[in-house]
Subunit: 332 residues, 2 copies
């Protein structure tokens, strides 16, 4: 929610801790990357290994390993599918399946090409209502309280004014905000919140409604955000490492980008929850706290590029053009 | 401009010619593709061969040819750079250069990796003012007249109301409209119009301002629309065929996605204006007239997906999610 902060640009910058800029930049206008690099350790949030899926594809033609890491959303909505995905990984269900579809400017999709492999016991049939989360008006009030606690100058009507003007609206939602590390859309009019199909988002393939998919068939976005899929399919996570192994795959020549020639499919050796790997093999990641000042400055700098290359700052940014910074760390 | 029409959804549909839908679809709710497939021949506009660049990359590892076709914008803004590009192609300047940069979710860039190759005589130094086109208020009035001529029901204040409400606004522009076959942004407040960095857009690399680039260094967008580049770099065209040969290239491992290892660069055998090729080798393309009813219906269907897969139409669409349909045709 308090990506709102991000938006309270100059106000936030004025009270924020000084940022160390690279020497080549005007110190008062650091680039988004320089802001992220300078963020203190306390601005980063560890991702639990139980929220990470590790997908090992077959090595490439030159024998190089191809490991892709997916971060699962740690909170509703979509929790039913995410539960299924944990069960599928624990059952090693994806081992020996494949990437079967690569459609340019759209998606890479993987699962069981035969469509005959039996699913593990105990998967949930998730209702369409879980594409969104019901949103309580009190959350908005709480968000405002938190902002004002950090930036007292915004008390009173100013915070309402900021929120009304500055929560990024577009054709797809009355407002778009980062909450808990994820890009989400909000419709206060109907009290709903839902995750956004940005580049790298991972979703659950399905058949025609009322089917909602089990979670066994997954895809990721490799082009311009297909936001028309929002609220129509479950978003369950995002690629945080190894995206290039998916986005650079040859496009399928069949309908919808499916590989017509089965030999073109890319074998999946295994998909595991990171928490089930030997500890030495567990990847460790953290993301920039979307409720903190560093993220606020980063988002503001993405929306108002003042680093030397730019001559005309946009004055705003699509939420999918403010990707949440995620980085690999060593140790626990 | 009259993508506005696109927006005048139900009104336009009500008076439009019936559309032949595929049997598998509810005939009253054809998919965007079905609308395009059913568009009459008169809805398509031929692209002049002098507005097409044909880029032949070295064949891939299996010996398959890789031809990419770029459509140049036929009208201002950006005309200075496009003039330079015609000269560069005529001088065969790009032959023997290469693709040097592939940055995931951003751009593929090509040109002279040595940065030492002499440019042809007579290239123009284009001023930054040409990133945009000055927009005359009378254009808006003319657009309204054209709409009302086609849909008399919109006469009077209704057309003003529609335009105010429905021109797709976002964080990057007060309004976004398709004009003359291209996605453009408009700011009536400052009287400016500029082309949009959608997926597949082709732009002109440059150094720090006041440099604006000559047109010798080009890039295309292979990820989410980087709209913060709008008005900061010249957009000169778009990829209309062979995009997959660029978007699926291995990502560069160097800074900004440059190939650190020169052997990874992809050689460019030649770039030619299609009009200078032997007539039998000239590709022919046409695009769906963005000022016509078929495009209006298509855009409306992209914004309000009613085909069977969708359960919740978005009610709007990012202009980059309404790509202008382009198709290859035979003969002249």
């Amino acid at each position: 929610m308090i990506r709102l902060l991000s938006i309270v640009s100059f106000a936030a910058l004025a009270i924020a801790a000084p940022v160390t800029a690279q020497e080549t930049e005007k110190p008062e206008f650091p680039s988004p990357n320089a802001i992220v690099d300078a963020a203190p350790a306390s601005a980063w949030v560890k991702i639990a290994p139980s929220d990470l899926l590790v997908m090992d594809l077959a090595p490439d033609a030159e024998g190089n390993p191809r490991r892709v890491v997916i971060q699962l959303m740690p909170a509703p909505p979509s929790y039913g599918w995410i539960g299924n995905i944990r069960k599928l990984a624990t059952a090693h269900w994806w081992d020996g399946t494949s990437i079967n579809r690569v459609q340019d400017n759209y998606v890479v999709q993987w699962g069981d090409a035969s469509e005959e492999k039996a699913l593990p016991e105990g998967l949930e049939t998730v209702p369409e209502s879980e594409y969104v989360q019901r949103f309580r008006a009190t959350d908005m009030e709480e968000a405002k309280r938190q902002i004002v606690a950090q930036i007292p100058e915004l008390a009173g009507s100013l915070i309402d004014d900021m929120m009304r003007k500055q929560m990024g609206a577009d054709s797809y939602a009355p407002s778009n905000v980062h909450m808990g590390g994820w890009p989400t859309a909000l419709d206060p009019n109907v009290g709903e919140r839902w995750p956004i199909h940005c580049y790298g988002a991972v979703g659950v393939g399905r058949n025609l409604s009322p089917d909602t998919g089990s979670g066994a068939e997954l895809y990721t976005v490799i082009g311009h955000a297909p936001r028309h899929l929002d609220r129509n399919i479950a978003v369950v996570g995002r690629i945080i490492e190894g995206m290039e192994y998916l986005s650079s795959l040859p496009r399928g020549k069949g309908q919808l980008g499916f590989y017509e020639d089965a030999s073109k499919r890319i074998p999946i050796n295994s998909i595991r929850l990171a928490s089930t790997l030997p500890e030495s093999d567990q990847p460790r990641f953290e993301y920039l706290n979307t409720e903190g000042e560093s993220f606020a400055q980063y988002a503001d700098a993405r929306a108002n590029r003042r680093d030397p290359f730019f001559i005309k700052p946009a004055g705003g940014a699509d939420i999918c053009n403010i990707p949440v910074p995620v980085r690999r760390v060593s140790g626990k």
